[in-house]
């Protein structure tokens, strides 16, 4: 969810001032053009909403609304990227289903969702607001430029015109007067440049006031997210329990039964055929070692001993040692996260590492574990061929789902040709439980 991601962009003050101001002004001007689709979609949406009762509205209202949402999303992204005002998406997942019933269900959801009405209001107000706020610095700059060029314009054009030209409050009817326009023009240009970053921010805030999810929408989205991740978590743990049950049943349990039978047979043979009894006992000892081995693997799969002994840092180091790849682990954690989260993070790292070993074709992996601003950040970078895709393959998706239970996120950066970087972030608190001594 984008509302949870903190704004990591550089503050404007650190950029090159003049260039930044010009960029802001230019972007504000560009933003005005979004008013064309916004206004067109507002009008058509309202028209087809009115036509909903006679059916034809049903056919067109929904796709038009989707277009409006796309336009609004474009603006949301632009505000986040350009004005450093991140805006979350307020839309809940639409009901699926085919045919007219499905379409009707989606349309009904659209109409009942507050975000739809707020979007429409935004689309209606977008043209005046973008002219007044977003575009204002650019208007000032252009008008200022007009003033600066006034002496030149006077010579080539205005002096040949009969009607007197007005430049703001200056009546341009002589070359001296035209010269007066220059400082006034410069003032306006300077003001436009100085104001541009501020207006970009104000414009962002204004758009956010209409486009951001309302408190209620945020809660609804939260409920939707929690419901989904809870279902995933329950499914995953049920599958895990089934696997453990099956492993115990087919493995250790079966071996114990066999051992019991062997021991019984050995007992019976003790008197009559001690040699055969001895062979049976040796077999039984071997079976007990195998059973232990299986139980050990099972325990390791549920909760690795190093993780409970030493915590995440050393557990990851231990995994790194076992990996066929050359793995380097850098840790700076001031404490340990809660056990369930620690375990999820651990299994996520092992899974990513396994993926890297299987598919990347690389040899070297760099793992960084850091903790800043209440977020545990794990990045895993390999020097393989890249081209990994979240949509393809279930491995990374599985990790994503598992992290989702903890409001964690997984980002993948894997250009073809490599390197591949997986970044996992988990919001959590660290406690000062016993941590690794090294």
């Amino acid at each position: 969810m984008s509302t949870l991601t903190p704004d990591r962009a550089d503050p404007p003050a650190t950029r090159w001032r003049l260039g930044w101001a010009l960029l802001c002004a230019w972007r504000g001007f560009a933003l005005v053009f979004l008013s064309i689709p916004a206004l067109a979609l507002f009008i058509t949406c309202v028209v087809f909403m009115a036509l909903l009762p006679i059916g034809v509205g049903l056919l067109f209202f929904f796709p038009l609304m989707l277009l409006l949402r796309a336009t609004a999303n474009l603006t949301r992204n632009a505000m986040g990227a350009w004005a450093h005002v991140p805006i979350g998406t307020p839309y809940r997942r639409l009901p699926t289903g085919g045919g007219v019933t499905g379409l009707w269900a989606r349309t009904k959801r659209m109409i009942t969702e507050a975000a739809t009405w707020r979007d429409l209001l935004w689309a209606l107000l977008y043209l005046p607001s973008s002219l007044l706020i977003a575009c204002f610095p650019m208007l000032l700059i252009v008008n200022g430029l007009h003033g600066v060029l006034m002496p030149f314009l006077w010579e080539v054009a205005y002096r040949h015109v009969d009607d007197a030209q007005w430049y703001t409050f200056i009546k341009v009817d002589s070359s001296q007067r035209a010269g007066l326009a220059v400082p006034w023009g410069l003032v306006q240009m300077a003001a436009g440049l100085a104001l541009a970053p501020w207006f970009a921010r104000v414009n962002g805030l204004w758009n956010r006031s209409l486009l951001a999810p309302t408190k209620q929408a945020e809660l609804a989205l939260r409920v939707q997210h929690l419901t989904e991740s809870r279902t995933d978590a329950v499914d995953a743990s049920a599958a895990e329990l089934r696997r453990i049950e099956r492993d115990l049943h087919d493995g250790a349990q079966a071996r114990l039964v066999a051992m019991g039978m062997n021991l019984g047979a050995a007992e019976a043979l003790m008197k009559t055929d001690p040699d055969a009894a001895r062979v049976l006992l040796a077999e039984t000892r071997e079976a007990s070692a195998k059973a232990l081995h299986e139980l050990r693997d099972l325990v390791r799969g549920i909760h690795p001993p190093v993780l409970s002994d030493r915590g995440l840092a050393d557990a990851v180091r231990a995994v790194a040692l076992e990996s066929p790849l050359d793995v380097n682990v850098n840790v700076s954690l001031p404490g340990r996260p809660e056990l369930p989260l620690e375990s999820a993070a651990y299994f996520a790292v092992t899974e990513v590492l396994t993926n890297a070993a299987k598919h990347s074709g690389g040899r070297h992996v760099e793992i960084d574990l850091t903790y800043t601003d209440g977020t545990l950040r794990i990045s895993v970078t390999d020097d393989g061929v890249g081209g990994a895709d979240l949509m393809k393959g279930t491995g990374l998706r599985g990790i994503q789902r598992r992290l989702d239970t903890f409001d964690g996120t997984l980002a993948l950066h894997s250009p073809v040709g490599g390197p591949t970087t997986v970044i996992m972030e988990l919001p959590c608190d660290l406690s000062s439980r016993k941590t690794s001594p090294s």
Binding site: S288, R296, P305, V306, D309, R310, A318, L321, E322, S438
Partner: protein
């Protein structure tokens, strides 16, 4: 031979005490938690200690921590660590000080009494006893490395046993070959891995492990 034992499960502790006494060890202390273990180790300075990794009060790697701490205070104190699972990380920590006289074995190795007692004696005399599982993982991990790939299957077998801590005589016994044959193999192995040869068992093992860990 004086021995300190640390194991929190009473049943297993009694079993080990009986087993070790039957093989002529004198048990100077049998403890069931970390702090007591550290005290016993530092106070008695036994000829060898057999220590379970997981001990009260934290039930984490208390035993290992006590063992490492004791070796910091009494350098070279021979300690054999027993565990339900083996971790390369822990094996490295035990070997890290380079003084040898350490062992790290799975608990079920105790089933094979002779080998277990042999391992305890080896550690007591300054050698090492690494669990085959640690060794096989190390070898599996480094199989792509060129020098290791040059070894013949027989040489790999010898290397594995050598890394566990076996002497040439012991390797010969395990592989049913003559000691001369083994020493020929070891010479080849050292040459292929370009490890500085030395007659001392412990140095030899550490060199192998260091090589496998890729730390030298």
């Amino acid at each position: 031979m004086r021995l300190v034992l640390a194991e929190d499960l009473a049943l297993l502790r009694d079993g080990l005490v009986r087993l070790l006494q039957a093989h002529g060890f004198e048990i100077v202390a049998a403890v069931d938690n970390g702090p007591e273990l550290l005290r016993a180790l530092v106070q008695h300075k036994p000829d060898v200690a057999v220590v379970d990794v997981r001990l009260p009060p934290t039930f984490t790697d208390e035993g290992l921590q006590a063992a490492l701490e004791a070796r910091r205070q009494v350098p070279g104190l021979p300690i054999l660590v027993l565990s339900q699972y083996v971790e390369q990380l822990y094996a490295r920590e035990l070997l890290a000080d380079g003084t040898g006289a350490v062992g790290y074995l799975l608990k079920d190795r105790v089933f094979n009494t002779d080998e277990f007692v042999d391992a305890v004696r080896r550690v007591a005399s300054g050698g090492t006893a690494m669990d085959p599982e640690v060794i096989s993982k190390l070898l599996a991990r480094n199989v792509r490395d060129k020098p290791l790939a040059q070894l013949t299957p027989r040489e790999r077998e010898v290397l594995e046993l050598m890394a566990e801590g076996c002497s040439n005589a012991a390797i010969a016994g395990r592989l049913f070959v003559s000691e001369g044959a083994v020493s020929k193999h070891t010479t080849n192995i050292f040459a292929k891995l370009s490890i500085d040869t030395s007659d001392e068992t412990n140095r030899r093992v550490l060199a192998v492990l260091a090589y496998l860990n890729g730390t030298n």
